[in-house]
Amino acid sequence: MKILAVCGSGLGTSFMVEMNINQILGELGVTDVEVSHSDLSSAVPGDADVYFLAKDIADGGAHLGDVVVMESIIDMDELRTKVKKVLEERGIIL
């Protein structure tokens, strides 16, 4: 499975979200999920199974398919809940 974190320029925010998702995956002991980051222009449907976007660019990324919208990009608890939910939906964790 692949997760793509997306932000406006694909440099800082999405990179941070990627690192945070990786940290959460590590805590959960999940290893076979690939995470990367990208800008809004480069991200296309099919790049990944799930896309993580912040609330402020959610409209611009609605076409991507399976999109998870983050209310706050710095809230690790919110991210942890949402990553867990994604993994549970796909049967990666129980």
Binding site: C7, G8, S9, G10, L11, G12, T13, F15, M16, M19, H37, D39, L40, S41, S42, A54, K55, D56, I57, D59, G60, M70, E71, S72, I73, I74
Partner: protein, 452 residues
């Protein structure tokens, strides 16, 4: 020996080596180490390729602008100027970035300024600017890297520090800092917002604001659109005969302008991909090592982290800042000299953030006034920054965000007084001020603001 120097003077190889050291230090798997090192190496070459495209697209713009208005026009864009700087100052930039991160960790570990600056692309851009300024100031290679690294470490610490009072007010806690080198503009916006304290309840988020312009957050779209508008306006003033005889080789002047504007956006797109590859291994390594060495540090993170606090203020701030940019441009037209054109990207990101801080301290009115002031600040700083950048000051692009202007002008002015000596003394004084423990807060806060 000369082979070794050849290897180390190739910035692409040097950054790959830095990535390799970082990966080895984290005891990564062999396959991950090879992958990461290679990507970093290729990433640097991608940036150079983008720089070539960008220069080809920007040169005709400069020529047309001068033909039309008899002055030079500058479009501030960080990616563009950094890519140009890296072609000549790549090695020094890579070394300053690496040791600058080390200095950042040391300052966070040893002083009361517990900030770790994690916005890697801004670290890279600031390293590039310092490499240029220290070279223009007349340092030798060793001194240049030492002074550049210490300056970078200081800026990485003080930029989040001056903004932290406003961040506390905005986020309601003291755990996260903002790592974006336009802090002077944001702090100014926060201060301007305070003038409207009375109307604080009149928050931007209580207004129904159209959201249709969110697509401008897509940087490729906004860069291409603004460049097309600017290119076409300038082309109309320069006239078809000049463009078709001198620049386009007979191609219709408007068609030519469209293609060049699009190529500029293409160049930035490529540079961004390269920057992403270069940073992919270095930033996580920096983050991992700094968390180990400075466990109580506050991470300073990229600017969009604050956008979700006030999405309306983001758009209001962009407009107000952009209008500030146009207002400044009109003043420059009357004043003579270079003209700084308002780019959508810097105004969007820094204007948006200024709008959020202005809103936090002064509501709707504070948001507009603060972002407007930010727009003026980021328009006028480049005018004074460009003369200290040596050859690069004559490019038709320059650094766009406020802290680049403030620190560049600060070190450039010191260099003009008495070159490396003045800069060395300046750095020692700032470090000494930062080493003062917390109780003398008031006096050292003044030093902070001047230093950044």
């Amino acid at each position: 020996m000369s082979t070794l120097i050849d290897i180390l003077s190739q910035p692409a190889i040097l950054v790959a080596l830095i990535a390799l050291i970082g990966l080895a230090a984290q005891k990564k798997k062999m396959s991950d180490t090879v992958k990461g090192t290679t990507k970093t190496f290729v990433g640097f070459l991608v940036i150079s390729a983008g720089a070539g495209i960008l220069q080809t697209a920007l040169t005709p713009f400069g020529a047309m602008f001068e033909e039309a208005f008899n002055v030079s026009g500058v479009v501030p864009n960080n990616e563009a100027i950094v890519a140009l700087a890296l072609t000549d100052y790549g090695t020094n930039t890579a070394l300053i970035m690496f040791f600058g991160m080390v200095v950042n960790i040391l300052i966070a570990r040893l002083t009361r300024y517990k900030y770790i600056f994690l916005t890697g692309h801004h670290t890279l851009y600031m390293a590039a600017m310092l490499a240029v300024i220290m070279a223009v100031a007349g340092f030798n290679t060793f001194g240049l890297i030492a002074a550049g690294s210490i300056a970078l470490g200081i800026i990485m610490t003080l930029s989040p520090a001056i903004l932290q009072p406003f961040m506390r007010q905005l986020t309601g806690n003291d755990n996260v800092a903002l790592g974006h080198f336009s802090a002077v503009g944001y702090a100014a916006s926060g201060l301007v917002g305070k003038l409207f304290k009375g109307s604080k309840e009149n928050n931007t988020e209580n207004i129904n604001f159209p959201k249709g312009l969110g697509f401008l957050r897509d940087s490729t779209v906004s860069i291409a659109l603004t460049m097309i508008i600017m290119y076409v306006i300038v082309a109309l003033f320069a006239g078809p005969s000049f463009i078709e005889s001198e620049l386009s080789g007979g191609t219709n002047f408007l068609v030519f302008s469209f293609i060049q504007a699009g190529s500029f956006a293409a160049g930035v797109f490529i540079i961004l991909s390269g920057v992403r590859l270069v940073l992919a291994e270095i930033v996580p390594a920096f983050k991992g090592i700094s968390t180990k060495l400075v466990p109580d540090a506050k991470p300073a993170l990229d600017v969009p982290i604050i956008f979700t606090f006030a999405p309306n203020a983001v758009l209001i701030g962009f407009f107000a800042s952009f209008i500030g940019g146009i207002f400044s441009m009109v003043i420059m037209v009357f004043a003579g000299g270079v003209i700084i054109l308002p780019g959508v990207v810097p105004h969007f990101f820094t204007g948006a953030a200024a709008g959020v801080f202005g809103n936090a301290t002064g509501g709707f009115k504070g948001s507009i006034a603060g972002a407007f002031v930010n727009g003026i600040i980021i328009s006028f700083l480049p005018v004074f920054l460009m003369p200290v950048l040596g050859e690069l000051g004559f490019a038709n692009t320059t650094f766009s965000d406020a802290d680049f202007g403030v620190s560049g002008i600060f070190f450039g002015t010191l260099a003009n007084y008495s070159g490396p000596i003045a800069i060395t003394i300046g750095l020692i004084v700032i470090i000494a001020l930062m080493a003062i423990p917390a109780k003398k807060k008031k006096s050292s806060h003044k030093g902070e603001e001047k230093a950044v």
